[in-house]
């Protein structure tokens, strides 16, 4: 029996990596709920938990190498975790904010520009028709499903 066979698996490193993986891939799930969509609390918490586990795991791997494994896979998992966190932050805090300023968009108190467009059944509908039929119209512009 070699000494390495007795070493603990250092599960914290794997748990930390799993948390980071979860933080990275779970936004589409959390985006269903406004609270975790508007600000990615849940994802950031997962990343934070993952970061703590990875740091403790790395301390174990390098501080007590006779007791814990992970001197090789620890840094690899930690690097992957940091990359995922970096990419997530870039997308959420930079890329998703690249929205045109729309300074010329109609403002409160102004008349909404009139239009006629075809609806989901191919029938033409004008804004005039829409507002005359109800008390108010909630007009939602969206990016599309493509």
């Amino acid at each position: 029996m070699s000494a390495s066979a007795k070493k603990s698996w250092n599960w914290l490193l794997w748990l930390g990596f799993l948390c980071a993986l979860g933080g990275f891939f779970s936004y589409t799930f959390f985006a269903q709920f406004p609270i975790t969509r508007d600000y990615p609390w849940a994802n950031l918490l997962l990343f934070a938990a993952g970061g703590i586990c990875l740091v403790v795991g790395l301390f174990r791997a390098f501080g007590k190498p006779q007791a814990y494994r992970g001197k090789v896979f620890g840094p690899i998992l930690a690097t992957l975790g940091i990359l995922m966190f970096g990419f997530f932050s870039y997308v959420f805090f930079y890329q998703l904010r690249q929205v045109p300023p729309s300074t010329g968009a109609p403002r409160v108190g102004q008349k909404a520009p009139e239009f006629t467009l075809s609806d989901h059944d191919g029938k033409d509908l004008s804004l005039r028709d829409l507002v005359s039929r109800s008390k108010a119209v909630a007009l939602i512009f969206y990016r599309g499903f493509w």
Partner: protein, 113 residues
Amino acid sequence: MRSFQHRLPELESRGIHVVAISVDPAEINRRQRQKLGYTYTFLSDPKAEVIRRYDLLHRGAGPKGTDIARPAEFLIDSSGIIRWVNLTENIAVRARPEQMLEAVEQGEQAASH
């Protein structure tokens, strides 16, 4: 969009007609609407003419660099006047139906005074 579907009965009971606009063709809208179980109106602006008129064009942000709409929400009253606007600064952050209901309520209060 999903949250507006969830709150649709409430919105409709307050006389609010929900209308979504994008560059998607009517055929895609018909299919997506069925698939996702949305029951409100979807309008198609394939050439982004209305999107441009509202200054909501996001150039090159669509598939293969096509022009699409940036997310934005308007509440328009029965005389065609805009009562509430939301121009998000983050694509992931959209208006919630509660904000619109609140805007309608405030408008009603102001009208009754």
